[in-house]
């Protein structure tokens, strides 16, 4: 292909003026990718057009600027410069479904005790009694199991009560529109009165070891870090984050391990506005 004649065809200028058809645009982009000279010429021409526009223009009036920003005011999520946050407590994982371990141990201990009892009786009484003792043993294991299920139930019931009693607002944070992970999805559950925040991860990619996901509550005073997100937990496990009283939106960014004082907006993964 004759790159020079392509460059001098005038196509690149029309590309920048937005006057090419979709198919022609694709062609220019494709060539620009393949031939650095074409990309360079596009960049130069864009600089020229920007410089030309700058040199031939006068600034729009202050009133227009004020009007634009008052119109956009309600859309802004990050309204002010981020305030450095001092407190940074580690995120507590609230176990919703992993409470079985202590009860399994209790059940095992019950089984051992039962075995001891069985041997004692076996010495004193007839061997036939062993059968009965074995049943007894089974029964204590089952009692242990039942106890475990009951405990689990009570715990979930208590958490459910808390949710029913609390006024939890669900804020869906999505990755659409950002570059990091388009299909990312994390929900925030926020009781504004009690200032309690939970998050539940629906879809969030793994991170390499030198990074952490950090949750931000974005209020009138700018973004405040409210804890690191543990993405190694089972899907939809609730994690309690730091208390938040006021926020217009929540967001998660990728930060260096341990979190940052202010969010790196270039690595914003998900964002959800409080409706």
């Amino acid at each position: 292909m004759d790159i020079q004649s392509y460059i001098s065809s005038g196509k690149l200028e029309l590309f920048l003026l937005g006057e090419l058809t979709e198919r022609e645009r694709e062609e220019v982009l494709d060539f620009a990718k393949r031939y650095p000279e074409i990309q360079q010429e596009l960049d130069d021409l864009e600089e020229t057009m920007l410089a030309f526009d700058n040199m031939t223009g006068i600034a729009p009036s202050q009133e227009v600027k004020d009007k634009i920003f008052s119109k956009l005011e309600s859309d802004f999520i990050f309204k002010q410069a981020p305030k450095p946050t001092t407190a940074r407590a580690d995120t507590k994982v609230v176990a919703m479904s992993s409470a079985w371990k202590p009860f399994a141990i209790a059940a095992s201990i019950a089984a051992i005790v039962a075995s001891g009892v069985a041997f004692y009786y076996a010495d004193k009484y007839d061997e036939k009694n062993i059968q009965f003792i074995a049943l007894l043993q089974d029964q204590s294991v089952m009692a242990g199991n039942l106890n475990q299920v009951k405990q689990e139930y009570d715990q979930k019931d208590a958490q459910l009560d808390k949710f029913v009693a609390g006024d939890y607002k669900r804020v869906e944070m999505k990755g659409e529109g950002f570059n990091m992970q388009k299909d990312a999805r994390v929900d925030v559950l926020w009781d504004q009165n009690a200032q309690v925040v939970f998050i539940a991860i629906n879809n969030l990619n793994d991170l390499s070891d030198e990074f952490d996901y950090q949750l931000w509550a974005i209020g009138d005073d700018g973004p405040v870090g409210i804890g690191l997100v543990n993405n190694k937990v089972e899907k939809l496990t609730l994690q309690q984050m730091q208390a938040v009283a006021q926020a217009g939106a929540f967001a998660i960014t990728i930060e260096p391990k341990g979190g940052s004082k202010a969010p790196n907006l270039e690595k914003l993964v998900v964002l959800g506005e409080v409706v």
Partner: protein, 177 residues
């Protein structure tokens, strides 16, 4: 601020980034519009709507399809052309020429505008008649190249190469001034 940072900040709806964008590009973007629309109030209205549109459409902007300024300038240019062709303006019968534009800027108060007006003249001075014609119709009257070709019966290829030649002259002058 790098372009990627600006885009990321706009997508996060960050006020500071939006202000930075405004400060950096409002003059150039407003120029794109006010060249085509001579009436200051209407031009500012179109600029207002275009800028708001830019902040709202940034989520759909694809970096791989062209750079930020070009994308924004196209939004402004298209809005200005749409407005120009709406009934609201065509009834007033006003058409722009480079001379009107320069005169309009020079007659405004303030020295800054005055200097800018001289800039336009200096930028245009080396264009030959054909090139000046192209710049006038494409930049100041909001014509597309195919419209210029149709209306003035100039072959499309010729229009393209004149656009190219005119911008090359501007490029040289921009670098010189």
């Amino acid at each position: 601020m790098e372009e990627v940072q600006i885009i990321a900040g706009l997508r996060a709806k960050d006020r500071k980034t939006t202000e930075y964008l405004y400060d950096k590009y409002s003059k150039a973007l407003y120029a794109v519009i006010s060249r085509i629309i001579f009436d200051k109030d209407i031009a500012e209205e179109v600029f207002h709507d275009s800028f708001v549109k830019i902040t709202k459409k940034i989520a759909h902007y694809e970096e791989s399809k062209g750079r930020l300024y070009t994308w924004m300038a196209n939004i402004c240019r298209n809005s200005a052309i749409d407005k120009l062709r709406s009934k609201e303006i065509s009834q007033s019968g006003k058409t722009n020429t480079i001379d009107d534009f320069v005169y309009g800027m020079e007659s405004q108060s303030g020295t800054q505008e005055h200097i800018d007006g001289i800039g336009v003249k200096e930028l245009m001075i080396e264009l030959n008649e054909d090139q000046k014609f192209i710049v006038e119709y494409i930049y100041f009257k909001g014509y597309t190249h195919s419209e210029v070709s149709e209306e003035f019966q100039i072959p499309l290829g010729t229009v393209k190469s004149r656009v190219r030649a005119a911008i090359q002259v501007l490029k040289k002058n921009v670098a010189r001034i």
